[in-house]
């Protein structure tokens, strides 16, 4: 296992001279960490993964593993393991031989080999299948073998996963997510996981790297991404529905919506000339029939009982917002009302970024 450093690494694909697929960035991936790269298609996450694995040579910058420059090295020379979207297994081999393959390639044999294969097979609940030919197994089982092959070598710098649960039946996904978490706890490998699925990323990773348009917009714990999005994109992308952004003004040292002063968790003044908004999650907006502190006048435009919660569509000045209410709270009525923005649960955003 290794610490991975990216220094001023950026990439442009040939023929796209002015567009960065990955904007130059510097980042350290700690040894033994579980990271997810999360973003919509085209955000640059696969480019970043391929730069780390060596499938792509970056247009600029330096990649090093534990201080050793590997920028020019091919994937085989980087000592990494990879798991792809679709199972990569040898159908004619047994499950045991499939799992043993990467170890035998490195000269492992005998009891040491058997012990390691069995350890990984136990974690993945493949032990009873070890003597079976891979051909006979379901797609889910085969993907488990692929995971096992990625995880079997204890000496890899990192294991890279590229949307590995794509072929897994939706009902079984949580079981494999659990496996991956368990694996990280037990085997202490450095894991990098690329996905567009927020549940996958947030469940798996200690640190989630959110990407948008070739840029890393936030690196943080799942809780930080939900509670304190650093960028409007993160607020929008994480959560369903995403964060509300209410247009606001800056008057006499305070954020105001329609003249009403709104206190937020942001302590600093926003830069002059920036487009300002207040971000607040639908879960945290509270509705009240009468005005009060940090309450802005709203119009309740639509109320939808969705069984497990009630969604309320609000007009707040020129902005729209969703409030997500527990079904146990009192149902609102259409028309004029007030929305309270709990100061600790909302923040000021200048253009795209959260104001500290």
């Amino acid at each position: 296992m290794a610490r991975i450093d990216l220094e001023d690494v950026g990439h442009r694909y040939a023929g796209a001279a002015d567009a960065w697929a990955l904007r130059p960035m510097t980042m350290t991936w700690s040894d033994g960490g579980a990271y997810a790269l999360l973003g919509p298609s085209g955000c640059g996450k696969t480019t970043l993964l391929n730069i780390i694995s060596g499938l792509i040579a970056p247009s600029r910058g330096r990649v090093s593993f534990d201080g050793r420059d590997v920028t020019a090295l091919a994937p085989e020379a980087r000592n990494i393991a990879q798991v792809f979207q679709f199972p990569v297994v040898y159908d004619t081999m047994t499950v045991f031989d499939n799992l043993a393959f990467p170890l035998r390639n490195r000269g492992w044999s005998g009891a040491r080999l058997r012990q390691r294969v069995e350890e990984v097979a136990d974690i993945l609940e493949l032990r009873p299948d070890l003597p079976r030919r891979a051909r006979a197994l379901s797609a889910d089982q085969k993907q488990k073998i692929s995971l096992g092959r990625g995880l079997v070598r204890p000496d890899v710098a990192a294991v890279l996963f590229d949307e590995p649960l794509t072929v897994i039946d939706p009902h079984l996904k949580w079981l494999l997510r659990r496996k991956l978490k368990q694996i990280h706890q037990q085997l202490k490998l450095s894991l990098l996981y690329v996905t567009h699925d927020q549940t996958e990323a947030l469940t798996f990773a200690d640190q989630v790297v959110v990407m948008s348009q070739g840029e890393i917009v936030q690196v943080g714990t799942p809780e930080a991404l939900f509670e304190t999005p650093a960028h409007r994109f993160v607020g929008h992308f994480i959560g369903s529905p995403g964060m509300n952004f209410l247009a606001c003004d800056w008057t006499a040292g305070a954020a105001t919506i329609g003249g009403v002063r709104v206190e937020t968790s942001s302590k600093q003044a926003p830069p002059a000339g920036a487009k300002l908004s207040i971000g607040v999650r639908p879960e945290y907006l509270e509705l009240a029939p009468t005005p009060g502190a940090n309450c802005v006048p709203v119009r309740v435009a639509a109320i939808q009982d969705q069984g497990i919660h009630t969604m309320v569509r609000l007009e707040v000045g020129a902005s729209f917002a969703w409030a997500k209410l527990r079904t146990t709270s009192a149902a609102p009525t259409p028309g004029s009302a007030f929305a309270r923005l709990p100061p600790a649960r909302c923040a000021l955003y200048a253009d795209e970024r959260r104001v500290a």
Partner: protein, 353 residues
């Protein structure tokens, strides 16, 4: 439209069995069921693409059974976005209007209005290949709407889109159909989608109708355990219990007691929907302890998988909660939020709404 005693047989397999169903005119009719429940087969019969083995399809007093699709006023949108690749977005949307020989001014008005509603205005001169998946599916939807058919059939139209687009389009669709001009049939595998669309829901399983009615009523009062399971996501939590008839209590295998509505049954199955659990205790709540199998974080919610001796539970808790594997954990539930089913799966009691 009404379906009466529809059977559909393929070889020796019965794909649809005795389907009786009335569609709410001008409303959203959701067909909710797992893969292979018979949703697509039923849609194809409604469209006139397939002829039922037995049964009748009626529109008012007119028998539509066997009337081919071309002679019906029907539009259909499939899972895969289907557009004419050589036509611009504008011409794709305009195509049914051209077939109907509308004049140019009318076509322009209609296409412009639909593009505005489906947020396609900036892309009207582009070709489908130059669009994102969501834009392509919106184009397919706009074309289906341009037809102004009396019946619009949507077969999991959002399944191939990423979740953010799905979220946005779902909210738009409900608004789009709110005018009541079109009878919409919407097939989906996702209970949440049915809840967001509202309207009416028919639960399908293994080619049969489990239950049908206004969406919220079917959700809140499933007639059977099978219906409750079909309309729960995450899965319905099910715990077997003994009834202490004297005290009106359900007794779980580990001795936990919960007050329940009076019942004659001695053995029952308790059903708890995942969102009814909370992590904070309060008076009147019952505690159910276990060990965390996994805390899945969806963004704004956490699914806690809890292992107990008598059951595996899944709780849907608002917010982000990072719980370690195997950590002891207690979930709390209001006894009044429990469903009870008898040994044959019939509903005994449901939460008051």
């Amino acid at each position: 439209m009404r379906l009466s005693g529809i059977h559909y047989r393929v070889g020796s397999e019965l794909w649809l069995e005795d389907i009786d169903l009335s569609l709410a005119k001008g409303g959203i009719n959701v067909l909710l069921g797992a893969t292979l429940a018979g949703k697509t087969t039923l849609l194809r019969i409604m469209a006139g693409l397939d002829r039922p083995t037995a049964g009748r399809l009626l529109a008012g007093d007119i028998d539509l059974t066997g009337v081919p699709v071309r002679q019906r006023n029907v539009a259909m949108v499939y899972q895969q976005f289907i557009n004419y690749p050589s036509l611009t977005v504008y011409e794709n949307i305009a195509s049914p209007l051209r077939v109907a020989r509308r004049n140019e001014a009318e076509i322009r008005t209609r296409v412009t209005a639909l593009a505005e509603t489906l947020r396609l205005t900036p892309f009207l001169s582009r070709y489908p290949a130059e669009l994102s998946g969501g834009q392509q599916q919106r184009t397919a939807l706009a074309r289906a709407l341009a037809k102004d058919a009396e019946l619009l059939l949507l077969d999991e139209p959002l399944i191939n889109l990423d979740y953010k687009l799905r979220e946005e389009l779902r909210a738009e669709l409900a608004q789009l159909f709110a005018d009541g001009r079109t009878t919409v049939v919407y097939a989906t595998t996702e209970p949440l989608e049915a809840l967001q669309l509202g309207g009416y829901t028919t639960l399908l399983a293994a080619g049969r109708v489990l239950q049908s009615g206004p969406t919220m009523q079917v959700f809140r009062r499933p007639a059977t355990l099978a219906a409750a399971r079909a309309f729960s996501d995450p899965p319905l939590n099910v715990i077997p219990a003994r009834v202490d008839a004297r005290n009106h209590e359900a007794v779980l295998p580990d001795g936990v007691r919960l007050p329940i509505a009076p019942t004659q049954a001695s053995e029952i199955v308790l059903g708890i929907r995942a969102h009814e659990f909370s992590l904070a205790g309060a008076s009147g709540l019952t505690a159910l302890s276990g060990r965390v199998e996994l805390a899945e974080i969806s963004g704004s919610e956490t699914f806690i998988h809890l292992a107990r001796d008598d059951a595996r539970l899944v709780a849907l808790i608002p917010g982000v909660h990072d719980l370690a594997l195997n950590e002891p954990c207690t979930l709390y539930v209001r006894p009044a939020s429990l469903y009870g089913f008898d040994s044959s799966g019939r509903l005994l009691f449901a939460p008051e709404s």
